[in-house]
Symmetry: C2
Subunit: 127 residues, 2 copies
DNA sequence: TAACTGTTCTATTTCGCCTAGTACACCCTT
DNA sequence: AAGGGTGTACTAGGCGAAATAGAACAGTTA
C-alpha cells in the first residue's frame, strides 16, 4: 500500500505523507477510515515507529487526519486533503512562475508549458 | 553585494550561487570580470572560505564561472548563466505543472496562474 | 621575494533524519 | 479487573550533509 525509497533525499516521513494524501485523494482511503497503527505500519514497512508517528503528527497538524488516543488515527474529510494539496501546489507554482518570469520566459512560453503539461503522452497515468 | 540568510534551510553555498547568477543576469557582473577572492568574500560575509570555495567549484562545474589558479575566479559567458537558469527553471516548472495537474487543476486555472504571474503588482521589481 | 590567488586536506561542530528502547495513558474487549 | 491494542512522550545514539577551523601546497603577479 505504501512504498518507501530509502535512497531518496526526501525524508521517509514526508514520502509517507505524500502517498497517504494521494491514497485519500484517489478514494482508496475514505473519510473516518482507520489508518494502520503506528506499530503495525512500522513493522510492515521495516522502519521505526517513531518515523510513522512523526508523519501522523505532521498530517494531523495539517488537518489531513485526526487521532484519538487509545483508538487510532483516522482520515479527516477528503476535501481537507484536497484543498490542502491544491493550496500547496498553487503556492509552489506561483513562486516558480515568478522565477521563470525573472529567468526571462515570456507569458507565451509559459502558456505553452502549461499546454504541454496537459498534452497526453505515453507515460502518463502509468505511474 | 551578496546577502546570506543564516536561518534559511537552503545551504549558504547555494544561496551564494543563486545570487551571483542573478548578478550576472542583471549585468552587474560582466563577462571575464573577476569575482571576489575566496578569502576576501569569506571575510566580508563572515563565513568560512571553504564555503565560498564550494560555491565557486560548483559554479565552475556548471559553466557559470571559470577559475585560474593563482589568478582568481572569473565569470564565464553571461549567456551560459542565462541558458542554464532557463533550463533549470523550465525543468522545475514542468515537474510542478504535472503536480498541479494531478492535484486537480485545470489547464484554464493554470493559464490564469501564468497571467497572474505577469500581472504587475506593487512589490514587483523592488527586490 | 612578498603577497596575493586557487586548491586540497583533515578534524570538528552542528543539525535534521532516523533508529532503538522504554514508559505512560487511554480505549476496548473479554 | 485484566489484557492487548492504541497514541504519546522521552532519552539516547548513529548517520550524513553542511559548515567551520586550520594548515599546507601550488601558481601568479608586483
Amino acid at each position: 500500500m505504501i512504498k518507501l525509497d530509502l535512497q531518496s533525499k526526501t525524508p521517509l516521513y514526508l514520502q509517507m505523507e505524500q502517498q497517504i494524501i494521494d491514497l485519500i485523494l484517489m478514494g482508496v482511503l475514505k473519510e473516518n477510515e482507520q489508518l494502520p497503527s503506528v506499530r503495525n505500519l512500522a513493522r510492515d514497512l521495516g522502519i521505526n515507529p517513531n518515523t510513522i508517528q512523526k508523519a501522523y503528527q505532521d498530517m494531523e497538524s495539517r488537518g489531513i487526519i485526526y487521532s484519538v488516543v487509545g483508538r487510532g488515527n483516522f482520515v479527516a474529510s477528503p476535501s481537507a486533503a484536497e484543498s490542502l494539496k491544491r493550496r500547496e501546489s498553487m503556492a509552489a507554482l506561483e513562486k516558480l512562475l515568478q522565477d521563470a518570469r525573472h529567468a526571462g520566459f515570456s507569458a507565451q512560453e509559459l502558456h505553452q508549458a502549461v499546454d504541454a503539461a496537459f498534452q497526453p503522452r505515453k507515460e502518463d497515468d502509468l505511474l
